[in-house]
Amino acid sequence: MALLEVHHLVKHYVRGGGFFRPPSVVRAVDGVSFSIDRGDMFGLVGESGSGKSTTGRCILRLVEPTSGEVRFRGENLLQFSKTRMRLARRDMQVVFQDPYASLNPRMRAGDIVEEPLIIHRLGTGVERRARVAELVEMVGLEAVHLTRYPHEFSGGQRQRVAIARALALNPALIVADEAVSALDVSIQAQVVGLLMDLRRRLGLTYLFIAHDLRLVEHICNRLAVMYLGKIVEMGQTEAIFRNAAHPYTRALLSAVPVLDPDAPRQRIEFDTTSFHGDTPLREVEAGHWAAV
């Protein structure tokens, strides 16, 4: 059974409008549907303005969607009350791109990791501290790091603190929103290694939001490609890389720099004026969908 099912998710922003001017509507997310099975590493890729991050935020109701359904373990999160949603968030955590912005600079790492347990009133002080020690070890940090402030960490370590905090409540789903994009490649590889390792050890499911196709190819088993608020292609990662069907996906793949200086370069340009967004997804091969 799918852990997360997103049906026809829409987020429109209405801007401006005046006496004689009709307001304009930005269709940030425009009818997005996909589902993620337990244990999946599901990649949501796209360029800026594609709506990939807004989709992630709508799923967690960090922004309220305009319409649609987000079913988590079969229940529609969008109908939950605020209180019920707060409880549901225990099970779904987010890791952002820039832990420097998302971690409280005045709190020590140990307190940052412990805070979700306090908010949800879990355990006694002793139990919480034991849990923090376990989490910190799990993400590859050491006990000495607990008393340090975010600015005392390197970027990779800060991201590990953010991951430990996200894991504190034992979630089933992690939304990783460009979680490793800002890191140097060697550090990126380590943090990706950690995410993969945690997936295996804890049976986590990931929604991995990213712009870097090389990264996604490497770690996600399924992926969806977004363009201007729509999913234009979706399927097994391997199938999409082998046999991309949508012209935008093809252009995106052809833009990836290849490590081989002798590789033939065939840049495929995507004609943006050809995109109207009204072509429905159809199955081009088993389990591989494209809006063509």
Binding site: V185, A189, R214, H218, A251, V256, P257, D260, A263
Partner: protein, 263 residues
Amino acid sequence: MSPLLDVQHLTVRFESPDSTITAVDDLSLSIFPGETLGIVGESGSGKSLTALSILRLLPPRARVMGGRILFEGRDLLGLPEAEMRAIRGARISLIFQEPMTALNPAMRVGDQVAEALTVHGASRAEARRRAVQLLEDVRIPDAERRWSDYPHQLSGGMRQRVMIAIAIACRPALVIADEPTTALDLTIQAQVLDLLRELKARFDLALLLITHDFGIIAEMADRVLVMHGGLAVEHGTVRQVLREPADDYTRRLLGAVPGRGAR
């Protein structure tokens, strides 16, 4: 043929009352006319400081402690500031990662391109005429109309094209591009790299391309220098370094590049 730029034993240090950090350590490199040299490294490797040293634009606390930077036969480190200004932007120009911070937000983009020409002696009418041509050279559609846009009205890719137009305005011999596409989307990055390659051939530019991305090196550079902790750990033709990396750090860096090439 003698090199256009010949950096010999460059050492740059950050000094404060209680610590000294060697950011660039005895670095030597050379670039021949029309050639692309890539410098690849992670943050803190010293790659950007190397570029800033060449232009003598180091931040206040960083100092060149030794070495020579020979450009067209002259040691830039010994030039009076006035002569350095005549080289900067005219013979050697710089493209930054973030055009939004490098461009003046309160000035029309056309005027900014024209300014690059007038500071180096062009008349205003001449500058205006050539600036339109430059905006066309960097493939900004509808250049006449775009002239009067402010930077915030342009997309990231278009802003970077304006930066490139400014960089090539005076027909420099060397363009230093420091992470020129890092802030851009992948498809836009591909377009900007294609543009750089085209302009390089057309105007016979030498390019010093600084990046963290080995994929970009593979696409763009003739030779590559790998920097780590201020040191040049490996140096060779791109083919040689990618096929048979000799240094441990280079191998690790290549191994960490996700996806396709790494397999």
